[in-house]
Symmetry: D3
Subunit: 135 residues, 6 copies
Amino acid sequence: MKVKVSRKAHFNAAHRLFRPEWDDAKNLAVFGKCSNPKYHGHNYDLVVSVTGAIDITTGFVMDMKVLKDLIISEIEDAFDHKNLNEEVPEFAELNPTTENIAVVIWQKLRPNIDPEHELEVVLYETPRNFVTYSG
Amino acid sequence: MKVKVSRKAHFNAAHRLFRPEWDDAKNLAVFGKCSNPKYHGHNYDLVVSVTGAIDITTGFVMDMKVLKDLIISEIEDAFDHKNLNEEVPEFAELNPTTENIAVVIWQKLRPNIDPEHELEVVLYETPRNFVTYSG
Amino acid sequence: MKVKVSRKAHFNAAHRLFRPEWDDAKNLAVFGKCSNPKYHGHNYDLVVSVTGAIDITTGFVMDMKVLKDLIISEIEDAFDHKNLNEEVPEFAELNPTTENIAVVIWQKLRPNIDPEHELEVVLYETPRNFVTYSG
Amino acid sequence: MKVKVSRKAHFNAAHRLFRPEWDDAKNLAVFGKCSNPKYHGHNYDLVVSVTGAIDITTGFVMDMKVLKDLIISEIEDAFDHKNLNEEVPEFAELNPTTENIAVVIWQKLRPNIDPEHELEVVLYETPRNFVTYSG
Amino acid sequence: MKVKVSRKAHFNAAHRLFRPEWDDAKNLAVFGKCSNPKYHGHNYDLVVSVTGAIDITTGFVMDMKVLKDLIISEIEDAFDHKNLNEEVPEFAELNPTTENIAVVIWQKLRPNIDPEHELEVVLYETPRNFVTYSG
Amino acid sequence: MKVKVSRKAHFNAAHRLFRPEWDDAKNLAVFGKCSNPKYHGHNYDLVVSVTGAIDITTGFVMDMKVLKDLIISEIEDAFDHKNLNEEVPEFAELNPTTENIAVVIWQKLRPNIDPEHELEVVLYETPRNFVTYSG
C-alpha cells in the first residue's frame, strides 16, 4: 500500500544556457535568448515527492517538516538568490537547463531519503515549462 | 487505449494529529503544532481520477456528472465542515494525516467505481503539501 | 507618487460561526454548516498591502522582509494552527467571520506600520470567498 | 536516465456534445447542458509532455521552443477560436468530449515527436475537469 | 468602517464579436478571430464584490450563501452553457465583449443588492484578459 | 460609466538590488540576499489595466490585441531575458526594486495610452511580493 507525499518549495536564481566552447553566435542559434551572456532569471517552483508505505505509528510516509527542512538545507540554501552558473558548483561545467537542474536536485536529495522510498522531482522554470525526474 | 479522467473537488474541515495513548508533550514532539488539542483546519482540495477505455457511444470514460455526484455523496457530505477526529467514524481511531485521509477517500470511492477502471486520489492539505494514492 | 506594495502570507486555523446567546437550531439557521459546534477549518490566505512614497535611498516603500516578519510575529504566530474561537483572545466574544478576522488583522498590524502609510488587508477564507478591509 | 519535459499551452473553442442519430431529448438526457444545440465553449489548457534521455550537448530532452512551435502549428492554429464540431475535421463524426479531444491532440502530435520519446497529453476542459492520455 | 466581501463563480459559454451591419471582412479586420461566425467560447470566471458595513449581529456584510445563490439564479442559470449571442436576450443587439458582459452582469445583480451597498464585478474572459466594473 | 480592462503578461529577468556608492557589506545589510553581486532573477508577472468609457461601436474600452502588442513592444522586448541592471537603460542608475520597475513600466506605457484613459500597473516579482502603481 504505497502512498506518494509531495512538498512544494521555491527558489529564485539567475542563469544562462551556453556551451563555453561555442562562440556567442552559435550559443544564440541553439539556446536563443536564454544564452544572454549577462544572464536572466526565474522563480523556480519545486515539488519533491517521496513514495513509500505509511508508518503505522505516525500515519506518515515521511514527516513533511523533515522533508521541508531537507529541501531548505540541500536546495534552497544552495540555489536561492544565486547565479547558478557562477555560484553553484554542480553547474560549473554543466549547462543549467531545467532538465539538468532537476537531475542535480534529485542527486542532492537522494542520499538523504530512506533507501526504501522512491524519490521524484518536478521543477517548474516557469508556469509553462517544467520537468519531471525520478531517477 | 486507456484514458485518465480527473475531477477536482474540495471540502473544509478541522482536525488534529495525535495518538491518544501519548501525552500532550510527546504528541507535540512528534506532530508539532498539528497536534494542538483545540484543533486547526484546512481547505482540502481533492482530485479523483478514473482510468479506463473510452465508451464509443458517449465518448466518455466515465460521465463526469456521475463522478461529481459520487464525490459529493461519499466524500463532501461526510467530510465538509466537519471535525474529522470527532465526527467522521473512519478517524475515530485512525490519525487523520493527509496520507490516511487519502486512503480512506480511496476506500470509500472504490466500491462505487467500475471494477475495470483504475482509481487514483490526490489530496492537497495545503497548496504546498499533498498526497497521491492509487490502491 | 504613491505605490502600493503587497505581501502574501497564510495560516491554517479552526473556527465556527455562532452567537453564544442563540441555541444550536438558530445558529444553524443563520450560519448554516459554518456553525458546527465541533468546528471546521480553513487555509487562510492573507495579502497585506502598504501604500506610500518610494524611499529614494532604498527604492522601497517598505522593506518586504520587515513586512514579512511583522506578519509572522503579529498574525501567523497568533493564528496559525489555532482554534480562533477558543485560543485567539480577539475572538473570545467576536464572531470569527472573514469580515471580522480581516478587521482584527488590520487593527493588529496598523500600529506597526508607518502612520504616513495606508494599510489594506485582503483575507481569503477559501479561493472563492474573500474580504478586503482598509480602515 | 529518462526525464519528462512539459509545455503548457491553451486555446479557446466552442463545442457541443451529441450524437447526430439521437434526438435533442435523448442527447439532453445523456449529455446534459453540454448538448445545447447552440453550443457553449471553454478555455482549454493543454500540457504536452515528452519523455526521453537528456542530450549531452544541449542539456535538453527536446528544445522547448521547438515543442512550443509544434503545439502552435498542429493544435492552436487548428483549434483556437474555432467551433470544434463544425470547423475541425477530426470531430466531423467524433463527439468532442475532453477524452476524444485529448486523443486527437496526441495523434496529431505523435508523428512530429522523436519516435524514441514518449508523449503524454493532459487537457483541461475547466480547472475542475481534465483528461490524461499517453497512447 | 466599510468592508468589501467577494464571491467567485464561473460559467462556460460560446460567443462571437461582430456588428451585424458589417460584412465578415470588416468584422474580421476589427475583431480578429473573435469574430468567427461559427463561434468560439470561454470559461468565464466571475468575482462579485459587495461593500458595506459589518452587521453587528451576524458579523457579515452580506451572507455569502445568499450572494452565491443570487449569482446562480441571476447569472449562472442565464449564461452557463449558453450561446451568449443567440440565447441571452441582453446580447441580442449588444456585442458580447468582456466589457459589455461585465456591465450586463452588474445591471442584473444591482437591483438584488442592498441599495446602501456598493457593487463591483470582475469578469475574466481568460486568465490573461479581464474587466472590472463598479457602476 | 467607466470600465477597467486588464491584460496579463510576463517576462523573465536577472537583477540585483544595491547602491553603487555602498560597499558589499552595507548593501548586504540593507538589501539582504537580493544584493548578491552575481545577480539572481525572477519570472515577473505584469497586469496592465486601462480605465475609460466603452466605445459604442466596438464594445471595447481598448482593443486587447493593441494592448497586448504594446506590452510586447515596450516592455517584453526591452526586459525579457535581460539583466535589468546592466542591459536596461532606465536602471543604469536606478535600483531595480519592484517599486521602481513598476514605475518605469508605467512611464514607458503612459505616452502610448489614450490620454483620457487611466493606467494602472501591477507587477509581481514573485507570487508573494507585488506592487501596484497608477501614476
